[in-house]
Amino acid sequence: MGVTTLVLDVVGGLLLAAGSFVLLAAAVAIWRLPTFYTRIHAISVNDTLGPGLILLGLACRATHSWEILVKLGLILAFLLITGPVSSHALAKAAYRSGLEPRSYRRAKGGPPSTP
């Protein structure tokens, strides 16, 4: 095994682990964060970053075939568009159906929410 292959293998493994960690953090965020907007904030970032890292990691380990690399690149491009846009649509739908962020409610003198 050449040095390049070894380095790529290790880097790919690290990227995969980092991507998994980011996605795990998103899962913990859904569970721990208090409100819809804080949750979607955490998810929208991690849901784009995590798969991106994983795809990069997979690409590092698939350098022997340019076809796989192209496919991974296409998936990455697709996720880069759809991830943020779907989070945006979700948040906007929630806001327009009347769910207000907490800080707004406090500023307008609504019922004080527990910090």
């Binding site: 697709f78 568009i81 759809t82 846009v85 945006h88 649509a89 906007k92 327009r96």
Partner: protein
């Protein structure tokens, strides 16, 4: 022979199913159903049944979720709370039937058993060993689906066609007037005015509330359709075929309709055209079968369609898959427009 991925997927499937039973919020239940389908698709991938996985992901997680959401927009969002008292007779029926089903599974071969009847059957052997010489399509699933069992597939296409006709008769009735809005809607600036019509008091800058979605949709829909065509015409060589392609194609149009409203989408594919297309697919399938009989073969014996039997098979499979794709896409879109036309994302939708 279970590995960790299988166990995890099955575990999540069971959890999702339990959650589905307990949920009263139908919106959340729809999302869970979509998740259920996605997990099933994952399981099919693990089992190397890629064709089925694509179908499950496209139909279960994609378009059926959209149809359910469209239905939810018409009906209520929450299920009625069930009565609390225990009904004895239904409980007994459920227990007996459920017990019989579990008892039945005991007779089934183990998961991944190489000696399962479906593995050792002479038909399986025949398909695996001979299909390359008899049919020639590298993807054996397509050979079986479109050629060996073309008659079954014809039946499936007819079933879908019949279901759509039934739904159209039940729900369609007279074409709703807004489905063929003419005049003002056809003007290029009208979409904005439609958007503003329901919200006159809104600030002008808020008229483009969905601009991000519009841009993303516009850039994605061509690729979705391209992918649909790829799945359609690459079905001989890789996973895919008419069913999957039809659904993917319909999803692209439905996505466009969700973001831009029903009217622009129906200007491209008016209901009348869809009704013609969903009949055309089945007609094409049957016509190919009859044409092979005219040429001296059996019903759907594609070998006689061209000079060499393999070339004939290739042509026949291509045409039959195209027929299935046309029918499926038209049926899915007709159903979507039918539900959506009843107040889901029509032009008078609040924006």
């Amino acid at each position: 022979m279970l590995n960790l991925v299988d166990v995890l997927l099955f575990f999540f499937l069971a959890v999702t199913a339990l959650g589905l039973v307990r949920l009263r919020d139908l919106f959340a239940a729809t999302m869970l159903l979509s998740l259920f389908s996605l997990l099933s698709a994952g399981l099919f991938i693990v089992m190397d049944a890629v064709d089925v996985a694509i179908t499950e992901a496209a139909v279960g997680a994609g378009i059926s979720t959209m149809l359910l959401l469209a239905t939810l927009a018409i009906t209520k969002r929450r299920e009625k709370a069930p009565r609390r008292e225990v009904e004895l007779v239904p409980l007994m029926v459920v227990l007996v039937v459920g017990g019989a089903l579990v008892w039945g599974t005991l007779e089934m071969p183990e998961y991944g058993d190489p000696d399962a009847p479906s593995q050792t059957s002479p038909m399986t052997r025949h398909f695996l060993e001979k299909s390359r010489d008899e049919v020639g399509a590298p993807n054996i699933v397509t050979s079986i689906l479109a050629s060996y069992r073309g008659y079954d597939t014809f039946g499936e296409a007819t079933v879908i066609f019949t279901a759509a006709v039934g739904a159209l008769m039940l729900l369609g009735g007279r074409r709703p007037k807004d489905a063929r809005l003419t005049g003002s809607v056809l003007q290029p600036h009208n979409r904005q005015s439609l958007a503003g019509a329901g919200a006159d008091e809104m600030q002008p800058k808020e008229l483009h509330l969905n601009r991000i979605l519009e841009v993303a949709t516009k850039s994605l829909v061509p690729f979705i359709m391209m992918f649909g065509l790829y799945v359609q015409f690459h079905g001989d060589y890789g996973p895919g075929g008419g069913f999957q392609a039809g659904v993917i194609f319909a999803t692209g149009v439905a996505l466009y309709a969700l973001v831009f409203g029903l009217t622009p989408a129906q200007r491209v594919l008016p209901p009348r055209l869809l009704e013609a297309l969903l009949a055309l697919g089945v007609f094409l399938f049957g016509a190919i079968g009859l044409w092979t009989m005219v040429l001296g073969g059996n019903f759907l014996e594609y070998g006689v369609l061209s000079d060499g039997p393999l070339h004939g098979q290739h042509l026949g499979i291509l045409l039959v898959e195209l027929a299935v794709g046309i029918t499926v896409a038209a049926v899915m879109l007709a159903l979507f427009f039918l539900f959506a036309g009843r107040g889901f994302c029509g032009p008078q939708r609040k924006r």
